[in-house]
């Protein structure tokens, strides 16, 4: 940047102070003495400075649209501390005043968080001139904004362990909940700031990629909102905070697809190792923030529920203290089988055999394990269905063997298939985000991705989860079977044969494949029922039907010969076929190419790991290891 341009930027910054002041002027008397002449100059300079980004105009518009509701909620938030009266019309003043009020500690922050104008947007939307507060744009060009970021970047994150979360979450009291809220409140901006800095360390050209820029802006917005939240002192404030965080979680569902696309498009500008490092950092940090946020939201909603002492024994927030490999494998195997059956047009996937210490019990976030196992099983099934040589006598595909091993510190799931293995050329890029350029091409067809199993869930397994009593009794009965089996046969795991799940519910729900349906974080079972229902009912009109049918399907799980005519309907759907409705059904088995690296990030998050060894020409073994004591700190890059 030339010195002239630098000077221009300074002018912009100076003027932004004034704009902020003007915005606040209506309601707050603490305006910072501004002159109308500089305001005019500001808009002029801003126009000049942003003109180089003219090619992004459409994107900017898009962002404005996206940003708008976020902004509303954000600006509404601080006013809640005083009184929850702010409407959208007064949101600008509320936000400005609160910014002024809360800025005492971080004086320069006021300037950087102040609204900015986007002349292009203004040109296209004249109406917006009257509402400058609705237009926020944080882009790499605004160099001096980083003054607010720097102190956060310089702060180290405070990593936690799973065990700390468990202990803390027990016997929740008001003061503990507020403590949790404030931990999340102070921690999230720090973690976000570190990632924002990572974005800033990308090559400049990459930063100008529209997808990357979009994510970058989202991060900035989130950072700004979160860093403005004052200390949470009451339960009401906490509720408001939870709403804010929920909103952010929702907004950020676009992050993975956008990041993937951005990385794909930028792959010629960054060396592969750097891309992988960047992506791993991003995803890891993303998990960490979601864990903190979801855990707190879950604790809050649990605390708020009238009978929270009674419900959800075993669940502490999103952590389940009685994770059993047998149950987890069973659930994910059913789901993966369903996915594969549907994507293959009704062909039965291979059997899944289970042996080893299926009854080991440990505390974990089930979602994390389920995501990994689901991805691995889906891959295994797909490969076996493609390459597996059917048994000469029975004609069955070679089964997938899952072995669970409990060591002194960890639990390992070994998933072994005979799907012909991975070709060496492909094996080399197994964990890479950038080696094969077209890898993420399918992300163009997806708008949102939570990277959880729930988004795959309109299937028996998760639905079975919903009916708590049913599931508990079911799993306990199955577990006792397993247990007996194991006691009798010691190490010689005869294994449980998990039959491919029946598909009868498809008759009710012709397209249960919803990739982008955002399942809100599973807080506990009761709340997940409600959230499931609401989100489902938005997309499908028959949640109740789904739930009931799937419940019956799980109870009939031993019935292995169900061939439902409705399969034909599924089959007629071309795999990969896309509905025109943007947020509607997608082929859930669509190969996104992020499953494996994402799984490893998940596995490593609490100190485990994921390894894949392939025997080309034969099959592949995957080893997912999880620490069973939860005493490992979050695997964090900073």
């Amino acid at each position: 940047m030339t010195s002239a341009a630098l000077g221009r930027c300074r002018t912009v910054i100076r003027n932004k102070h004034q704009v902020a002041g003007r915005a606040a002027h209506g309601t707050s008397t603490s305006s910072t003495g501004l002159s109308s002449s500089t305001n005019k100059r500001y808009s002029h300079v801003a126009t000049a400075s942003s003109s180089p980004s003219g090619h992004l105009s459409s994107l900017q518009q898009q962002q404005q649209h996206q940003a708008h509701p976020i902004h509303m909620s954000a600006s509404a938030f601080p006013s809640m501390s005083a009184a929850r009266t702010s409407s959208s019309s007064s949101s600008a003043s509320a936000s400005a005043s609160s910014a002024t009020a809360s800025m005492s500690a971080t004086a320069p922050s006021t300037s950087s968080v102040s609204p900015q104008t986007s002349p292009l947007f203004r040109m296209n939307n004249p109406a917006s001139i009257q509402q400058p507060q609705a237009r926020r744009r944080y882009s790499p060009q605004h160099f001096y904004q980083n003054r607010i970021l720097d102190p956060y970047v310089n702060q180290a994150v405070n990593p936690i362990t799973l065990r700390q979360l468990v202990f803390f979450g027990r016997n929740m009291q008001e003061d503990k909940l507020l403590k949790s809220a404030n931990y999340v409140r102070t921690e999230l901006p720090i973690r976000l700031a570190h990632r924002i800095r990572d974005f800033q360390n990308l090559p400049f050209i990459v930063g100008t990629n529209p997808h990357i820029e979009l994510v970058y802006d989202l991060y900035w917005q989130a950072f700004e909102k979160l860093s403005k939240v004052p200390e949470i002192k009451t339960l009401e404030e906490n509720d408001a905070f939870c709403d804010l965080v929920k909103g952010l979680l929702n907004d950020h569902l676009v992050v993975i697809p956008q990041l993937a696309l951005g990385i794909m498009e930028s792959s010629k500008h960054i060396p592969p190792q750097q891309v992988d490092k960047f992506m791993n950092k991003m995803l890891r940090s993303r998990i960490s923030r979601r864990v903190l946020a979801e855990q707190h939201i879950s604790l809050t909603s649990n605390f708020n529920s009238p009978n929270h002492m009674m419900s959800d024994r075993g669940y502490i927030g999103i952590i389940y203290t009685h994770c059993r490999p047998g149950d987890i494998v069973e659930r994910t195997a059913l789901l993966a089988a369903e996915t594969c059956r549907q994507s293959s047009g009704g062909v039965d996937p291979p059997k899944v055999m289970l042996d080893g210490n299926v009854d080991a019990e440990f505390s974990y976030i089930p979602d994390h394990i389920e995501y990994i196992l689901y991805e691995l099983l889906k891959n295994s099934m797909r490969y076996v269905m493609q390459n597996g040589i059917p048994d000469a006598k029975t004609g069955e595909l070679p089964p997938i063997q899952i072995t669970v091993c409990e060591g002194t510190h960890d639990i390992v799931f070994r998933i072994s298939d005979k799907g012909g293995g991975i070709h060496p050329d492909m094996e080399a890029h197994l964990w890479s985000y950038s080696q094969s350029p077209a890898r993420f091409a399918n992300f163009e067809k997806i708008s949102k991705m939570a990277a959880t199993v729930q988004e795959q869930m309109v299937s028996p397994s998760r639905s079975a989860n919903l009916d708590q009593d049913d599931r508990r009794s079911y799993s306990s009965s199955s577990s006792s079977n397993v247990h007996n089996n194991k006691e009798e046969e010691e190490d010689d795991g005869e294994g449980i044969v998990l039959p491919p799940p029946p598909v009868s519910h498809q008759s009710v729900e012709p397209t249960p494949l919803v990739l982008d349906r955002h399942a809100p974080p599973r807080t506990n079972k009761s709340s997940s029922i409600s959230s499931f229902s609401t989100s489902s009912s938005q997309h499908h009109q028959h949640t109740a039907a789904t739930t009931t049918t799937t419940t019956t399907t799980t109870t009939r799980r031993n019935d292995r010969t169900i061939i439902d005519p409705s399969q034909n309907r599924v089959a007629s759907q071309k795999p990969g076929h896309l509905d025109t409705a943007p947020d509607q059904y997608k082929d859930q088995s669509m190969h996104l190419g992020i499953g494996l690296p994402m799984s490893r990030v998940y596995a490593e998050y609490w100190g485990g790991d994921l390894k894949v060894f392939t025997m080309h020409g034969y099959g592949t073994d995957a080893y997912a290891r999880f620490c069973k004591f939860g005493n490992i700190y979050e695997n964090f890059d900073d």
């Binding site: 070679p398 070994r414 060496p424 190490d491 025997m615 080309h616 034969y618």
Partner: protein, 490 residues
């Protein structure tokens, strides 16, 4: 320590050990600074071996010569030339490689260099270096070749004890050097050693092979092939086999290991071989044999010890006998203890077979062979309880225990895992030593690191996954070395 006497020792070489390291002798430095001529496998297989099998390649003169000599039952000139080429290459290359090895040893800390074992090793290599450089550069004919092969043979034989010596030496020196530095040095030495041996043994064995064929021809046991066609058998070229059947080698190694295990523990687990059991590939059998023996030893021993630990042997809850598709081995035979543990080739890929314990309660060791497009993968699975996490990081470290070092054994067994840092199948290793098996060099606590170096030598790899409380999976990935013939460097 036995140092073989060499017939080629000149007077000057009968010096005292201490004189070996002469500060002013820069011959080593001179040689060491020469460029290494990395050998491709193609060279070792006799350069244009493919050419030799196509008759038209032979030049008219060689054809003539052959015609003349064929009556006197001398094999085609082509084979001799291959042999001569390899020998010439060895003559030129080995001194350089030895010099580099010496150079690396010279860079060890002075205190380590004064250790008698290390010094002994240095002397061995130094003598070999001197001997080689003293032999005439030109290898023109069969007489030169025979003489040179003799030199190589003594050289190879004299180096047989290098690994135990190094092991003992660094056992004594480990407090004077950083662990990583020792590892770096040893990795380098062992890799260099494999290369040197490979080149030398190839030259020797090509000559032997040729001599044997000539002998057979003279005795009329074999017909002289048409002119220009190589006499060398298609599947064995010196130390390289082009149609090596891993299943056969696994069978041999497994029954050998089972026998050792029977002797030591009174029982042993079955070994079930499944996957693509009839596949073949090109490899150096002594290398693969060493690797397999080492890995199977670990697996078998771990299984038996884990059985003892968890009382698996006593239980045997199944009591299922019979219906075992047991393929008795050609030459393998039952061991003295009559345990009857055998090697089962599980062609039907019977799942049950890989899980069923034998009458001692030992679950079988499962060996799976997979033939990929460019590589062979051999997976060895055992139910030996795995390796604890504390020990896992150290399994590829050198543990410096030697056959001689009896008193060290007591504390070596500290880890209850058979894969423990210091205790990699020691007792059996000793037996393997005595039996003269276990590949070109015996393990001696160097087992896993050495095995991995061997596996990686031709661009392959070996990886080990521990499922603690359950067992170990070892993935041995070996390149089809004939495919990488042109660029594979040794």
């Amino acid at each position: 320590m036995v140092v073989a006497r060499r017939e080629f020792f000149s007077q000057s070489e009968q010096r005292e050990l201490d004189d070996v390291v002469s500060f002013y002798d820069d011959k080593v430095t001179q040689y060491a600074s020469q460029e290494l001529q990395t050998v491709t496998l193609k060279t070792l297989l006799g350069l244009g071996r493919s050419g030799s099998s196509s008759p038209e390649i032979s030049t008219p003169t060689s054809g003539m010569q052959q015609k003349q000599t064929s009556s006197s039952t001398v094999p085609p000139i082509r084979d001799l030339e291959i042999n001569l080429d390899v020998a010439r290459y060895a003559r030129k290359e080995l001194p350089v490689r030895l010099a580099r090895l010496l150079k690396a040893t010279q860079k060890l800390p002075f205190i380590v260099g004064t250790n008698p074992y290390i010094k002994q090793v240095y002397k061995l290599y130094y003598d070999s270096f001197q001997t080689l450089t003293a032999t005439p550069q030109e290898i023109r004919n069969k007489e030169d070749l025979d003489r040179f092969a003799g030199v190589l043979q003594t050289l190879v034989a004299s180096h047989a004890d290098v690994i135990p010596m190094l092991s003992q030496g660094f056992q004594e020196c480990k407090k004077y050097m950083r662990k990583e530095d020792i590892k770096e040095y040893l990795d380098g030495v062992i890799r260099a050693r494999i290369g040197i041996r490979l080149i030398a043994e190839q030259a020797i064995s090509l000559r032997e092979q040729r001599d044997n064929i000539i002998e057979e021809l003279q005795e009329g046991k074999q017909e002289l092939p048409p002119q220009g066609v190589s006499l060398l058998p298609r599947d064995v070229v010196g130390v390289v086999h082009t149609e090596l059947k891993p299943a056969d080698l696994i069978k041999t190694c497994a029954s050998f290991v089972q026998e050792l295990c029977d002797v030591n523990y009174g029982s042993s687990p079955e070994v079930v071989i499944n996957g693509q059991t009839d596949t073949t590939f090109t490899y150096v059998p002594v290398h693969l044999e060493y690797i397999l023996c080492e890995l199977l030893k670990n697996a078998v021993r771990a299984t038996v010890e884990f059985s003892q630990k968890i009382g698996r042997s006593a239980l045997d809850p199944h009591g299922r006998d019979g219906t075992k598709k047991q393929v008795s081995l050609a030459g393998g035979g039952g061991s003295g203890s009559g345990s009857g543990a055998g090697v089962i080739v599980n062609q039907d890929d019977d799942q049950d077979l890989t899980k069923r314990p034998n009458e001692f309660g030992h679950p079988p060791v499962e060996v799976t062979i997979a033939q990929g497009e460019h590589e062979i993968t051999i997976r060895i699975r055992d139910h030996g309880g795995g390796i604890s996490r504390e020990h896992f990081d150290a399994i590829f470290d050198y543990s410096f225990t030697t056959v001689k070092n009896e008193e060290d054994e007591s504390d070596a067994g500290a880890g209850d895992s058979p894969y423990g840092v210091d205790s990699i199948f020691k007792g059996v290793n000793r037996l393997a030593m005595q039996a003269g098996l276990g590949g070109p060099i015996a393990g001696l606590g160097f087992g896993l690191p050495l095995t991995r170096i061997y596996a990686q030598y031709f661009g392959g790899d070996m990886q080990l996954v521990s499922l603690q409380g359950y067992g170990c999976d070892v993935f041995l990935k070996l390149k089809q070395i004939d495919e990488t013939l042109d660029h594979l460097q040794i």
